[in-house]
Each structure stands twice: as structure tokens, then as C-alpha cells.
Amino acid sequence: MIWSPAKLSPDVRLLLDRERPIAVLPAAARARALSRARSALAAGVATWSQPSGAPSAVRWAAAAGLACVATVAAGAVAYRLGVRAGPTAPLVAASPATESPAPHWSAGAEPIVNLLAARVLAATPARSGAGAVRVELRLLEQARAAVAREDFLQALQLLTEHARRFRTGRLVEEREALRVKSLASLGRRTEARRAAVDFEAKFPRSPLLPAVSQILDSAP
């Protein structure tokens, strides 16, 4: 027979009672988490064979949809401004009808470009016109879609174009991660390595860093 473990004292139990309830997550954090999860599904992570509990290896899943992370507030702004771009919308996984606490999602999945737009809008000063915002957005989204369909040459062209026109945009981090991915996938290891070193120097705290490092290991 197993002995009964020592009991906790009443005052410690009282403290635990304070910790027991699960507080509601802030809406922005919630929207960001769900957006990343949907992006990962859209990129097909379910088909990977990857043992669970290997965090660094699976980060790239988030990176796959990397440009479409946005806060719920910014998403609302983008939606109000009506930024639209049709062709890439099917990349977004359908929003399940079960969602209740995040009303911005309940009307169904916004086109992925809206989410991208949200991030650009949140980061771009007012002096940038709506036209410029749309162009930066579209360029990066096209590059991401090219990577997703493994057309890495096309992706590199688009990334170079993005770098030329939006050198200091807020999507630089995503752009450079996609560049490492594209170069490595094309077997251009030296360039990929250089791009990865630059990435690390520029974004030492990036959540994409583990994924970027791993790209080099798994490249052909």
C-alpha cells in the first residue's frame, strides 16, 4: 500500500487557491497565438514527421506563415481600412466556427493579406500612402507564397525587389528569414550562411533565429 503524502498546511492551501483560477488572456496575445497556429496549419505542418518536444525544429512552422502575424487591434484597423488583396486568400486555413472570445475572427478567416496589412499598418508611419503599404505587403506575401510552392528563384527575385524598395520596413526580419530559406533550398550554401550570419547579427533576439539556424543544417 502506498502511504499518504504529507498534507499542505491551510495557509499554503490558501495561497494555492489564489493561483488556481486561470486568468483570461489579453485579446492581442490570444489573437497572435491563434493567428500563428492557423498559419502553421496553412503551411501544412500536420504532414511533417517530427517528434514532439523538439521546440527549435518546429519553429519554422511559425516562420512558414511568418509574415502574417498581427495583433488583434492592428487587424481591426486593417479591416476597417478595407485593405484587400484577393489572390492569396485561400492560403489561410478556415476559421473554425467554435471561436467565441475573439470577435474579430468570428466572421470567418480574413484574407492573409489583411493580417499582413495589419502589421505593416501598425509599423508604417502615416507618411506612407496606402498604395505603398499595399505594395510592400503584396511583395512579401508573393515571396512567401513562392517559398511555399518551392519556387525559390522567384522568391529571391521578389525578396530583392522588396529589399530595394523597402529597405527599412518592419517586415525586414521576415524577408531576411525567407532569403536564408530560399538560398539554402537552392543549394547556395555560402550565400545562405552569410545571410544567416547577417540575420543573427541584425536580429539576435528574433524568434525566427532557431528556425533560420536549422535551415542551414537541413539544406541540400
Binding site: 493561483e19 486568468a23 500563428r36 504532414t47 518551392e150
Partner: protein, 183 residues
């Protein structure tokens, strides 16, 4: 080798995606809090929660919906937090835990936040394998048999870890309160 591949989905897979996302969505706050209780810093919780989602999705076809969801999720959180801790090769144990959450109501907020901070700090000083057992049983009210099953350890081990962890928690909280009172 490419990690980015848009694979055409068969209908059942879409259903699995939706079901898994629905479960993640439903228990998102629980997942975040569990990582905090396991010692993950606030800035890392979001990334680890994404790792959990991906691991969850890959295993979702094996999930038995008749079993409670939270312990199942906690099992993932524990393994991911443990792997992350090993990777970082640093124990979060002896730091002061930041208070990052919203209290339940304005009038109780301060007191509740302090209590939560004390509990999290005391928890963080208990080694992770014992901490996981303690959190599951004492905070999530998971029966010991279920704890053993989720963490894949013998029942006897659950009891011995629980007993030791309770002592450690008790001593840790007393020490924290004494330190706070002595200043």
C-alpha cells in the same frame, strides 16, 4: 529538403486541423498559465505555446476525446518546457518571478498578484519533474493515477515526488514570506 510545403488537404485532415485548433483555442489561457507554472518566462511562453500546438496537432489523431483535455495538454507543456530548459542549460529556479498576469478583480488585484507571485517563485525553486506533479495535482486537481499516465511515470513515483514537492513548496513559501516580512 523543404520544410515549406503546401499539401492539398483531404477532408478528414481538415477536420483534424479544426478540432485541434478548436481545442488549443479553448484552452489557450490554460496552456499559457501552465508554462508559467512550469517556469517559462513570460517572453518565451508564446513561442513554446506554438511548439505545443504543433506537437499537439501531430498527435491529435491519437487523442481520445473521452479523456480530459487539460492533463493531456499539460503533458505536452511539461515535455516542451523540460526540453527548452535543457536546451538553455540554465535553471530558472533562483530568479524572482515576474508578475505578468491580470488579477481577477481590481479590489483583490494586488493581494492576488502577490499571492500568485509567491506561489510561482516557490514553484520555480522545485526541480521540474516534481514541480510538474505538484502543479497537476494541487493546482489542476488531476487525480494521481491520471498524473502517472500523462507523465508516463509509475504511481509510486508520483506519490514520492508529490510528497517531496509539497515539503519543498511549503518550505519555499515560508522562506519567501519570512524574507518579505524581514525587510
Amino acid at each position: 529538403m523543404s520544410h515549406l510545403r503546401l499539401v492539398p488537404r483531404a477532408a478528414p485532415q481538415v477536420t483534424l486541423d479544426d478540432a485541434c485548433l478548436g481545442a488549443f483555442q479553448q484552452e489557450l489561457a490554460y496552456v499559457y498559465r501552465s508554462f508559467r507554472r512550469l517556469g517559462t518566462s513570460p517572453s518565451e511562453v508564446e513561442d513554446l505555446a506554438q511548439d505545443l500546438f504543433l506537437a499537439l496537432r501531430r498527435s491529435w489523431s491519437e487523442y481520445d476525446p473521452n479523456r480530459p483535455l487539460r492533463p493531456y495538454l499539460f503533458g505536452f507543456a511539461f515535455r516542451i518546457a523540460a526540453a527548452d530548459q535543457r536546451k538553455r542549460k540554465r535553471e530558472v529556479a533562483f530568479g524572482i518571478v515576474e508578475v505578468d498576469d491580470n488579477g481577477p478583480g481590481p479590489e483583490e488585484e494586488l493581494q492576488s498578484k502577490q499571492a500568485r507571485a509567491v506561489v510561482l517563485t516557490a514553484l520555480s525553486r522545485i526541480p521540474l519533474p516534481r514541480r510538474a506533479v505538484l502543479v497537476m495535482h494541487e493546482l489542476d486537481d488531476v487525480p494521481v493515477a491520471e498524473v502517472a499516465s500523462v507523465l508516463s511515470i509509475p504511481l509510486f513515483t508520483v506519490y514520492s515526488r508529490l510528497r517531496k514537492a509539497r515539503r519543498e513548496l511549503q518550505a519555499g513559501i515560508r522562506r519567501l514570506l519570512r524574507e518579505a516580512g524581514g525587510e
